[in-house]
């Protein structure tokens, strides 16, 4: 079972008036964790996550279509849409911020149906992905796009576990510590992009 701990510091450096509760959560996700993650919730992820972007997603879905197994047991897992820069000497990984998630929309529903519980990326998702997230109970998290150096520093272990020929696009097993993210779309379909924009939009 996953434990959740509240953490109220961080993100509040210059916003002392803001009281923002952050939830420290463990990966992989159980049903209870997914249900607890509501749109707009800030989280700090701890544990194992897997990387995968365009080419790896294509390969995974092609493998499933051929009736083959995925390169890792996807049940409860979290996939981070990222293609890191190479690790310099003394580091486990280079810069590692999220890539645009929309390019994975064609592949995510099938992976969600197979047990994927979390995705980390940036940008909106298709209706099909959100429907799959609601049906099978999964959550979409956002990491800060372009904060690759900061996010890379939260990655403590990195190992290529599949498709090494894809280079930066290979599937890596990462161990993360207090990796900051925000719930963009929760398992009920609530969407931070829509709610956030509506709040600040004036007639353009």
């Amino acid at each position: 079972m996953n434990t959740t701990v509240n953490n109220k510091e961080q993100f509040t450096v210059n916003n002392k008036e803001q009281f923002i509760e952050e939830m420290r959560i463990k990966t992989p996700f159980g049903e209870e964790t997914v249900a607890s993650l509501k749109c707009g919730q800030k989280v700090l992820l701890n544990g194992v996550i897997y990387t995968g972007r365009d080419a790896a997603h294509k390969k995974m879905v092609e493998a499933l279509e051929r009736g083959e197994e995925l390169p890792f047991d996807i049940t409860g897992q979290v996939i981070y849409f990222v293609g890191p820069t190479p690790a310099p000497a003394g580091k486990v990984i280079g810069s590692a911020g999220p890539t645009t998630s929309g390019r994975m929309d064609a592949y995510s529903p099938l992976l969600i149906a197979r047990g994927l519980k979390g995705m980390i990326g940036k940008g909106p998702r298709s209706r099909e992905v959100i429907e799959a997230m609601r049906k099978y109970k999964a959550v979409y998290l956002g990491a800060i796009g372009g904060a690759g150096a900061l996010l890379g520093a939260c990655i403590k272990e990195a190992e290529i576990i599949a498709y090494p020929e894809l280079g930066t696009e290979a599937i890596r097993r990462l161990v993360v510590e207090d990796f900051p993210a925000i719930v963009l779309i929760d398992s009920t379909g609530q969407n931070l992009y829509e709610l956030g924009k509506a709040k600040y939009r004036v007639s353009p």
Binding site: F11, T12, V13, N14, N15, Q18, I20, G40, A55, V82, G83, P84, T85, P86, A87, P88, G94, S95, A96, G97, T99, T100, G102, K122, G123, P124, G142, I144, G145, G146, A147, G148, A149, L150, L151, G152, A153, L166, G167, T168, P180, I182, L192, Y193, L195, G196, K197, A198, K199, Y200, R201, V202, S203, P204
Partner: protein
Amino acid sequence: MKIISVQEIIAAVEKLCIEANCVLNSDLQAALEKALSTEESPQGREVIELLLRNAQIAAEEKMPICQDTGMAVLFVEVGQDLQVVQGSLTEALNEGVRRGYKKGYLRKSVVKDPLERVNTGDNTPAVIHYDIVPGDKLIITVAPKGFGSENMGALKMLKPSDGLAGVMNFVVNTVDQAGANPCPPIIVGVGIGGTMEKAALLAKKALLRPIGTSHPDAFYAQVEKELLRRINSLGIGPQGFGGRNTALAVHVETFPTHIAGLPVAVNINCHVARHRRVVLEGRESADEHHS
């Protein structure tokens, strides 16, 4: 006539690739700090704080600011009184990119064929735009372009009757459609006029102008201001989480066009907006006295 060797060019490009990717330009740093002071959305402010912290970590640890270290776009101004010696200029520029991306531990993000999609392994070839200019200098700008933002660009051949309103609506709609994808707060480059490819190139070049500077023509300076106001009314905000700072700047570049046309191109840059420039001086060639 002056000369410059390909070795000097290779070394310069190598350095520019690494610097552009690891050190945030000072104009952008200032623009983000200003955005932090004006942003109304608490989530938006948190995003900007994280971006500033990220830039600091990147500079201190010599890490790329963003993992998408881009396709290398090079603008090269070649003085017509300068001769490149000991090799090919284009080869030298690509070799500089190859070395910079290796030495700087930058990501290799280029595939050889757009449909077969096999990585070239060294981030070449670069996209190189040449201008022949008066003088004997070689001016190189390296502008690595990530595709989170590049994919959100758009081009439209408007009718002359669409006028300024049509141009502005197209720009604002393009940014609205892009939403969170190009990593706002963004820089918006707009190219108006010329032909189809000229408008696209103008939009890209517009991204090189320092943030905080306006178009020299008062009319277009006002257009930039109004576009920025409208874009920042969209509510997209930093990272698309909602807020007032969707764009840090809008830069417009124009060119004469045909009586039948009004091409408009929009090229969006993310908040990292990388570009670095160097001016290389040629040296006197040994056989100068013969000429």
